[in-house]
Symmetry: D2
Subunit: 366 residues, 4 copies
C-alpha cells in the first residue's frame, strides 16, 4: 500500500531505490517562513554518508541534495518541499547473482513474496539508501525545532559489548567520532572491536539513543497517537531496528512502583521530576522532562562468511556475499534516528496547537 | 487531535472514560459476512475484567458488551460495528482529593498541561478502562484471523524477577492462571512474589509476549508502514508499556551477524528459517515464520506508600493514594496486547490484497 | 473500507442503521473547554426529525441524544465525545418484501453487489437516518464556530419549480417553515406543490444552499485539500445530493472573465470584493467573503406509483412500495448540509493554525 | 497542512511551482507488475501541454517526464514511482509587478493571507502547472484501469454558449480538436467564439464531462467515502472548477421521482438500468452503469482588460495584466479531469477488495 508517507500535518513521502536514478522526499505541510537552503540539509546527509572511515563501506556516494520546490527567496512557502539526491553509481552488473537467491537477514525473500519480484540491485527500496529521504526531511524538522528551542540529539550508545560511559558524554563528540559515539574512549574501544569483527568476516550489532531537550509538557495524544507510540513506530521503521525503549525501557519489568515512579517537584517555580524513568512521557503526552529513546540495531546482515540459504528454485545452497558493506549499521543510523524523532516530535507539536478552545480563540482573536 | 482512531482498512475508534456513562469502540471496515455475536466479544472482555483474583483490583466491573450496529442476521454487514460497555460505578465522590494534585507516574499532569483541565475520576480517559474498546475490537479481529488460519496468542512472560520457562509453555494455561502466565509453576512463584509486593504496599513491573502463528509471508510494507513499525506503535500505545521488542529484540545489539542471521532452508518443499531471530519480519514484511513480540510494562504507578509530588497550586506535598489498584498491570494487559496485535496484523493483511497487479486482475476477473 | 470517518483534526465517525438498536457518532479531536450539553445537540437533531408536518413521514422518531463520553463538568475534555440516539421502532416485519427485490433509485442493489447481502430494514446503513450522527457532530462544530464569530446557515433554495426570492430571505424563517425555506411566500407555494405531488403518488427534487458568515481569509489548502474540494466531498456524501456548486457554480461555464472576476476593493480599511462570484474561495482558500455552496437533491426514490425493477432471482418485476416516505428530502436535509459544512470549515480552521512559522513561534512563545 | 497527498491505497503526492526547478509527483501504492515507461505518461502530459494551438498560451513548455524510481526492468515494483518534469522557463523578472498586487480571480490574496507571503512567479503553487503531477499520476491509473477493462474518457462539453451535440460524439475526436471537444462541428464554432473572445481581451468559461465505461457494480463506500463524494472532491480540487454534477446533476432539483428513478431491467441475463440519471452511482456505490460526471469551469481570470483591484499597501488600483494566457481553461483541463477520475476510481477499486470475508478467504486460500 501507500506506505511511504508519514505524518499528519508535517508529512513526508520518501521515494527511491539504491540503484535508481535518484532518491528523495517530499515534505508537505512544512510551515511557511522557515529560512532554508541546501546546506541546512547537506550537513545532515553528510552524517549518514558512507566512505568516511574504515567502518563504513568504501563506496563513494556523494549524496548532494537539491531543493526542487517549496522554497522562495530563501524561505519555505508552506507548499511541498521536494528534495532530491541523484545516484551516480547505478551500475547493476554485479547484482546478477544476488538476484537468484535470498540473502539471510535481508528483505529479498519477503519482497518477492509480497510483490512477485524485486529490484535486486543493492537491495532496491529496502537498501539503507532509503533513509536519505528521511534524513533530508528530518534536517528541516530539526531546524524548525531549534527555532522553537528544542534540540534533538542521537548518538551511538553501544557497539557489540562496548558501551559509552554516561558520565563522559559530550554531544558534540558524536559528530566527530567515526562511531557516532559521544565518548572518545568508548569510540576507540569500539573501533578496535569492529576491526576484529571485520577480520572475522563478521558484523556487529549496537544500540543508539536519542534525547530531546526543551520540549514543553503537553505534546502527544492520550490513546493511539501517544507520543511514545508514534516514536516507536518512527524508530522501528528504520531498517534493522529490533527494539525501541522509552525512558527506563525494558528495565521497568523488574522494577517496583516505588522505584519507578518519578516524583514531581517544584524547582524555582518550575515543575520538575526528581528522576526521569518515564523518559519524558506520561500517558502518551510529554511531561516537560527530556525525552529518552533507545533503539537496538541488529548486525549488518551482509557478512563475508559462507552462509546457508535457498535460491529462487527452492534449493538449499551456500553463498558468499561480495561487495562492500558496513560492519555495523549504528554509526550511520544514529542521524536517521535523530531525524525520525524530530519529524515525529514536530508533527505532534503542530497537531497540538488545536487542543484547547482558549488557544483557538486566541489564534482567531475571538 | 483525533488520536482515538487506528487502522487503514480495518479501523477502530475508541471512546469513553473510566467513570463516564459507558465506554466503547466503533469498528469500521470489518469485512461483510463474518458471523458475530456478543459472546464472541465477551470472552475477550472477561479476560481483562478485574476482580477475578487476589492480584486484580476487587472493584466489581461486569463489563458486558452490547452490539449496537453493523451485525444483521448474525453476520457483519460491512458497515460500522458499534460496541458499548456501560459503566455501573460512576460515583466520583472519592476522587475529589486526586483532583487537586498530580500522581507520580500517572497522566494527571500531562493532561492538565495539554487540555487545561481533566476528568480526574479514575484517570478519566487515561484509565486502564480505555482498553475495553481495544479488546472489544480485537476480539473481532481475532475471530476473523482464526478463520484465515492465523492464531494470535499473548501471555505474561515475567513478573518482577519471575520468568516463565519457555520449555513449559502451554498456551491454554494462560487463560487459567491469574497471572496469565502459560506456565503453572512460574504462575505460583509470581503469585507469591506479588503477595509480598502487596504487603510492602508496592507494585511490580513485568513483561508480556505475543506470538502469531500461521501468518503468510509478504504482509507489511517496506518503509513507514513496516509490520514491525505498526506493531511497535500499537503495542507502545497500550498504557504503561515502555519497550517493544521484535524477535531477538534488545539482544541483537551485542550479537554478530553470523549469530543473528536466520538461514533460509527448504523443508519438505516449504521455505523455512533455521532460526527465528527476526521474529517473523524481514524488511518490515512477514517472512512466513511466527511473529514474536515482547513488551515491557512498568509497575502500577498507584502504590500505597507515601509519595512526594506537587499539587495544582505548585506546592510540594506528600500524598497517600487510596482506593483499589492492581499490584501489577501485565496479567490484564496481555489480552490487550493480543488484541492490538490482531488488529494490526489483520489491517496489514487487508491492505496487502492490492499489492500485485496479477492479484487485482484475478479479483476483477480480467 | 473504513468509510465512516471524516476529518483530520476534528474527526467524526458515524455508525448505525435505520432499524438497529441505536445510531450515533464519535467526535474525536474536539478542542477541550467547549461548554456542551445534550440540549445543544438536540435542537439540531430536532430540525431533521420527521413527523413534524404533512411533508415529512408521519413515522414517530423521537431521536433523543445522549452524551456518553468526552464532557466533564459541562465542558468538552479534548477526548472523544460519543453521542447516541436509540432507535425505538426496530420492528422489521414490514420489510420482508423489500428484501427480495431492488428498489429503483435506492442502494439495495449496490449494497448487495459490494457486500454480498444487506440489512434491508428501512435501508439499513443507506437510510436517511444515517445522518443523525452527522447532525449530532455538526451541532458541536456549529457551537464552536459561533464562539469564533462564524455563522453557518443552510436552507431550502427550491422545491420542484418553486424557488425562494433572494430579496425576501429571512434566515430565522427557515427554522419555522416546514420546507426549511427562509421565505414564507415561497414556502406556501412549495407546500401546495408538494401536496399535488403527493396526490400524484410522486415525489419532488429540490435544492439547498449553505452560507458561512464571518470566516476569515486564509482557510483551506492549495491542492487536494482545497476548502471547496472538501466541502464538495462533505456535501456530495449526503445521500441524494447529485450536484455541488460553489459561488456562481454552473453559471461560470457561460460567463466571460470580465463578468466573473471579483474585483478586490478597500472598504474602510478592510479588504472586500465588489462581487462574490467566487463564493468566498479562491485557489481553494477562503478569501474573506461569505461562503456560498449550493446542492441539488434528487426526488425521494420511494414513490407510490407502480415501478419496474428486478428481484434477487434476476427477474423483471413490477413493484408497489408501501410505507411512509417524505415526498421531498430537502427540508430535512438542509440541517445536514449546515452540519457537514460546519464540520468541514472547523476542521480546516484547526489544521490552518500550523501554516506559518511565526504563528507557531507565538504559540510556543519562542 | 499536508494537502498535496490524495488517496488511500493508490496515493499520489504532487509538488512543484510554476517557476521552480521542476514539478512532479510521487505515486505510492501502485501495484507491482504494471508495465510502465515514460512514453505511457508523456502522451497524457502532451494533452495538457500549451502552445499547440491559437487557444492555448504560446508559452513553450516541453514538459518531458522522467521516471526516477519505482520501475525495474520495465515494470512497477510496488514501491513509490517518482515522476519529474523539469522547468526550463524559470525567468521571473517579468513578475515583479504582479508581486505587488492581488489579481482578481487568482489565489494571490488568499496565499498571502494564509502563508504570509507567496511565490508570485507565474502563480507559484496555484498555477495551472500544478496539474502536471496529477496528469502524470493519472496516466498510470488510466493504464492500469484499461488492463482491468475500464476506460476513462473526459472531454470538453461546452465553451461559452457553444455545446457539443451528444448525438455527434466521437471520443477519438477529443484528442484531435484544439478544444478537446469530441464533436468537430461544435469545435469549429467554439474556435470562432474564442477568437472573438480574445479580440475582446476577454476569456471564456466552459464545461467538461468525464465518463467511465466498464466499471463493475459495488465500488465505493456508503457514507463519507462515497464514490461520488470522492469524485466531487477530486474534480473540485482542480483549479477553476466551480461545480461538480453526477448523472442528472442539477436537473434533479426540478424532477419528480417518477422521472428520475432508473428502472432496473434484466437484459440477456445481465442487470441493466433503463436510464442512467444516477450517473452510475447509487448510495455512493457504483451500480454497473457508466459513470457520468460534469464539471463547470470558470473563465481564465487573467484577462487583458483593465481591472480594478488592490495592492499590498491596501490601496485601490487599476491593473493591466500582461503575459500570455489561455483564453479558456477547459481544453487543457479535460485531461486533468480524466486523470483525477481515474485516480479516484482506481483507489476505490483497490480498497474494495477487502469488502467481503469470502473474497478475503479466497485470496488467502482458506
Amino acid at each position: 500500500m501507500a506506505g511511504s508517507t508519514l505524518g499528519t500535518i508535517f508529512r513526508i513521502t520518501t521515494w527511491g531505490e539504491s540503484h535508481g536514478k535518484a532518491l528523495g522526499v517530499v515534505v508537505d505541510g512544512c510551515p511557511a517562513g522557515l529560512p532554508l537552503c541546501e546546506e541546512d540539509i547537506q550537513i545532515y546527509l553528510d552524517r549518514r554518508k558512507p566512505g568516511t572511515s574504515s567502518i563504513t563501506t568504501p563506496r563513494k556516494e556523494e549524496d548532494l541534495v537539491t531543493i526542487l520546490s517549496g522554497v522562495f527567496e530563501g524561505k519555505t512557502t508552506g507548499t511541498p518541499i521536494s528534495l532530491m539526491v541523484q545516484n551516480f553509481t547505478q551500475k547493476s552488473g554485479d547484482y546478477s547473482e544476488i538476484a537468484s537467491y535470498y540473502r539471510p537477514g535481508h528483505a529479498d525473500y519477503t519482497f518477492d513474496e509480497k510483490y512477485g519480484f524485486r529490484d535486486y540491485r543493492g537491495g532496491g527500496r529496502s537498501s539503507g539508501r532509503e533513509t536519505i529521504g528521511r534524513v533530508a526531511a528530518g534536517a528541516i524538522a530539526c531546524k524548525l525545532l531549534k527555532i522553537l528551542g528544542i534540540e534533538v540529539i542521537a548518538y551511538t550508545q553501544s557497539i557489540g559489548p562496548i558501551e559509552i560511559d554516561p558520565q563522559k558524554i559530550n554531544y558534540q563528540t558524536r559528530l566527530e567520532t567515526p562511531t557516532a559515539m559521544p565518548d572518545k574512549e568508548a569510540n576507540e574501544k569500539a573501533m578496535e572491536y569492529l576491526e576484529n569483527t571485520r577480520k572475522e568476516l563478521d558484523s556487529s550489532g549496537g544500540s543508539m539513543v536519542c534525547e530531546v531537550f526543551g520540549l514543553p509538557a503537553g505534546i502527544g495524544d492520550p490513546v493511539f497517537e501517544k507520543l511514545d507510540a508514534n516514536l516507536a513506530k518512527a524508530i522501528m521503521s528504520i531498517g534493522a531496528v529490533k527494539a525501541v525503549e522509552i525512558g527506563a525501557g525494558c528495565s521497568v519489568a523488574t522494577k517496583k512502583g516505588s522505584e519507578n515512579n518519578d516524583a514531581f517537584r517544584m524547582n524555582n517555580g518550575k515543575v520538575e521530576k526528581a528522576t526521569n524513568f518515564s523518559g519524558g512521557i506520561l500517558g502518551g503526552i510529554s511531561d516537560g522532562s527530556s525525552l529518552y529513546i533507545k533503539a537496538s540495531v541488529k548486525p549488518t546482515p551482509s557478512i563475508f562468511q559462507t552462509q546457508q540459504t535457498i535460491n529462487k528454485n527452492g534449493e538449499n545452497i551456500d553463498i558468499n556475499i561480495k561487495g562492500r558493506h558496513d560492519p555495523i549499521i549504528v554509526p550511520r543510523a544514529a542521524v536517521v534516528m535523530e531525524c525520525m524523532t524530530a519529524i515525529t516530535v514536530l508533527d505532534a507539536m503542530l497537531v497540538n496547537m488545536a487542543s484547547k478552545l482558549s488557544d483557538i480563540q486566541d489564534f482567531y482573536k475571538k
